[in-house]
Amino acid sequence: MSTLNLSVIRKLVQISAFVFFVYGGLITGYYLEEKLSGALPALSCAYDFQGSDLCTLIPIQHQMDHRLGETIAKGGNLLMGVMPTLITLGTFLVLFVILNKAFCGWLCPLGTFQELLQMIGQKIGLQRQESLSKSLVAKVRPVKWFILVLLVFGFPLLTGMGMLNHDLGDPFCKICPSRILTTLATGSTEQLHVDTANATTITLTLFADFLFGLMLALGLTLRQPFCRICPMLALHAVFRKMGLLRLIKNASPRCDRCGLCAKACPMDIHEIHTDMTSRNVTFEDCTLCGRCVEFCPDKNVLQLKYAFIPLFSADPQYFKKRKKAQTNWEKQNLIAWFGNKESKRRAEPS
């Protein structure tokens, strides 16, 4: 069947995961104790009371603030202070090893929402076809590391040590678009606000709302705008060599001249195309979505492998069908439809 391809399967998985992580708490339960892992490697928000799990970044921030920071400030046992974070990271790793960065590309509710925005943008005719330039991608890449180091670890730790005010105890959550998205998705507007309590809360909430609006608009024209700066992507990058699911490249001389894989990549990872030496090409920004494999025209040059088992490999026949399906999908949009209508009207004899 020509319409069923990896992207379609992935969309079905993403939508199912979105429903499960945003509304699944109605089945799994209301209390935090009832959440699945408490350290999910994807942005499933704890502020969403109907959610079935919560992302690992919220316990890490709380542990930096209330455990490690307090322990350092009071001169307590550092091992005891860091132990909760180690347990959280351990839980994260157990899950992460199973799916690696596919948590981003296949399961993250915020990633799914951005892909839906992209589809809407495409259907309206706003989505740009070109990839972002290498220089722009290179400038954006470090941002996720700064956010991870400063907002997930640094500020909460300093807050726990008494060096910052308590409103900076979980600064990433305060600006995370997933907090606004998932609560809005459950019909609550509580997290979309400007908090006038003090300068810190004003700054954080202004930034959060602005960032969410920015993401909404950019998501219509660019692929995965927030994912590029997401600290979860950075945390994944640290442990990506441990994951069982990997993107493998068996470079061929034709790779030099092709570059379709890089164009297909929603994260604009040009290195998939240019790197001719690495076998494991699960780069730091990769979300293991598999689009590069779909759009590779050479047999087995790119593969998604689970440990040593190939799950999905590049194939010329698949590529032809996939490219045709993509061209048809991109042709059908509102701007093209209006353009065709107008040209038909003009072509009609008066």
Binding site: G29, Y31, E34, R128, H193, D209, G213, L214
Partner: protein, 265 residues
Amino acid sequence: MKPSNLAIMLATLLLPPTGAVVAEEEQNLKSKKPAASHGHRGAKTFHIDNLDGAKITYIQPDLSSQTITPVMGKVTMPVSGVDNYHALVVEKDWGDHKEVIIRYQYMFGRPSKQNPVRLTAAQKSEFEIVPDPLPREHYRYHSQQTWGFLARYQGELLSNHPLTLTTSNGSEQTLYTDEHGRVTFQIPDDFPGLTEGERSKQTAQLTISGEYQQSDTNHSTQLVADYRVNPSHWQSTELGLLVLGIGFLAGGYLGQNLKNRDKKA
């Protein structure tokens, strides 16, 4: 009904907990520097007068319990070492009249791995009012919110039964339970002296009470809890939407700009 010490007991149990939190906050105010910790991991102490003859039970999340002996009119919920909700149950038996006050208190510590439902489902007294649900861990009751409560007698839900919500700010409201024994109260927005746009850390107490007559015995029960000012007093959704809109416009401009720049390149 015999004269009761209930009013005194209730009034005093409702006083804010003292101890580490208050001490830390007082010190903090003097130094004007952020405190190194929230100090919320300590024991919770409540002043209670007229405790003669009262039985005080402290129930942990795993339902293990201990009897608390008051010291100088104070009852301390000790640090159990585990997190999640704990219950303080104060009972007085007058023979033909049984009174009970129950308070669910969130305590911090290592993960208890216990579901709060276990604590609420357990029978703590013959007649009791049970939160359904309790505010999720790390959350609290706030004014303007609606919360559900169940009325139970010996584990059986009581339908069409009157329950009264009163607050230390002076509000009162009586509603009847539905056929499932459940009632939903909206916590009144009754804090005095609020200024819109300014954060208020005021705390008040709510009491949900009811009476039940069984044979010759009258049962009265109170569920007490703290509630806080709803943050909507200093959080503006309208402003949030406006800023979101500005972000959207900025995103549109940025997206278009990137497109034009690439075309030129």
